[in-house]
Amino acid sequence: MAEYKKIEQRKKLWEANVLGKVLARFPETRQSFATGSALPLERVYFPEPCDEDHYLENLGFPGEYPFTRGVQPTMYRGRLWTMRQYAGFGTAEESNQRYKFLLEQGQTGLSIAFDLPTQIGYDSDDPLAEGEVGKVGVAIDTLKDMEILFAGIPLDKVSTSMTINAPAAILLAMYIALADKQGVPRDKLQGTIQNDILKEYIARGTYIFPPAPSMRLIHNIFAYCSTEVPNWNTISISGYHIREAGSTAVQEVAFTLADGIEYVRSAIQVGLKVDEFAGRLSFFFNAHNDLFEEVAKFRAARRIWARVMKEKFQARKPASQMLRFHTQTGGSTLTAQQPDNNVVRVTLQALAAVLGGTQSLHTNSREEALALPAEDSVRIALRTQQVIAYESGVTGTVDPLAGSYFVEALTDRVEAEVWAYLDKIEELGGMVRAIEKGYVQKEIQDAAYRTQRQIEAGEQVVVGVNRFTVSEPPPQNLLRVDPALREVQVKKLAEVRKNRNAGRLGETLAALKEGARSPEANLMPLILDCVRAYASLGEICGLLRSEFGEHRETVIL
């Protein structure tokens, strides 16, 4: 304690004698400094008297509550993060080729991008699918497409993440049906479905049903997987899209954890036991350019979630308290101008994710502000991870930035601001109410608007956009999805429809309809029967739409 007092005294002397003179002659470049999310920054950070007194409570040991220092005792010394590039476009055949390419390049997990009709529950031949088939991901209509997508990829040898939300139960059912066909035991299946509907209402937009039946589907998945597919991550509670929509780092964590709290609370309310499902909850965050703020964000998120699970929900198993997360570098930070600069941005962001203790990572490719990435760009993005993993040396010790006066102070600051939001959301009646009121959307929009205003005013520098610009020729060789693809996909679907057993199909759909009308029924086994009978995604979602209704957006400006 005596040392802190001495530091305080010396600091005053330093400010008066050294700093004052320097500032008088060489003023700083700005009046005040702040993080990318506008958290104020001190000029220099010093040890705080309370740091050591609360070390065990706030930081502890890696692999132990509150997991601030990481979820594994050895972190990357034991095993590197999973390098998982999100990919998919066009037909199942084309995407299958891209996955094989990525696996050959040393990628260690798959991440499936679905096209928008698939994500919103429309078949490729639906009029609303016009122009969208195969554009932002692969088109999946029936189990047949799934069989092609994973041809030659044994499901017990890869872990597969699927970015699918409203129809998550259906795609998971297809994956299980495929595993059964491949003869892979269900407990050998590893992977994740995103299955996070709340952030779809807030930020991402691929919702189908209203909140209540959507939450029921999620609970059904939690319950079904806890016994049937025990190593599957049943949800990936996502801040990524909240950040992409323009939130601050603090809001990203706050709204994501608030979504998580809502899922846990509502699952307990319908009778699930917290320690039976909470260990399979996973998270998904963004990584932006402000390196230290991002690291602090990841560390704070782990600590808050552990406290929430232990104190609010009385979770006892460490796995239930542990925040495991995937990271993707920030798509909205990429610039269409001078796209090669994006490689540098992605490097900084990926480094932040690794220093923050991520479990898996996607690095964006340089031309993603313009188009889907070509193979050579995807390779550079993957190589960026490999350079960090094998050359930078940052993997040699656990939580390397711990104990930095600055990073610890920033971690505490992020945590305090997140708790303030969590309290506010509780006051509003929980996250579903807060979303229905438009509160969350408005907070994000206001932050997005402020940022864009600052960029337009030149107060926030974006290299190559509002400073250091050049005139450059339009980019060449962008990847294009063949517009004729829809016809191919529609033909394939017609073929499946012609060849399936109509009697069996009718039975399974009728059973699902009945199940949808009985609130106690778990819909997962019923959906599994439907996909086995080659019911299409659009047919299943259409049936559920007529039973559950559709969500309408609260438009807020």
Partner: protein, 130 residues
Amino acid sequence: MAVKKIRILIAKPGLDGHDRGAKYVARALKDAGYEVIYTGIRQTPEAIVKTAIQEDVDFIGLSLLSGAHKELFPRVVELLKDNGAEDITVMGGGIIPGEDIPFLKDKGIQAVFTPGTPIQAVIDFIESRP
């Protein structure tokens, strides 16, 4: 004599939910003094044209990030013509590869704003119209 305020519809055709840009443009144009209506996401071209006519707008700004612009933007222009509303100026924005811009202009989309465009460029375009 009161001058009629310019009315603008910002609309998101297609299925993509990326509305950050659309909302920014809508709000920034509102702050610049225009009457702005925003449709929300996942609108069909039919619904957009109906709203545009009902609201008697002078401009429609379409925002799309999924790559379906070559199908959906021209569809809006076509439907405006079918409904005798070709006096409404259509502009577009989003992830639009440069090589698609001549095609879109040929189809009657009068201006295309790509990522990084300052809002002033949109305002200048609006003000340049007769």
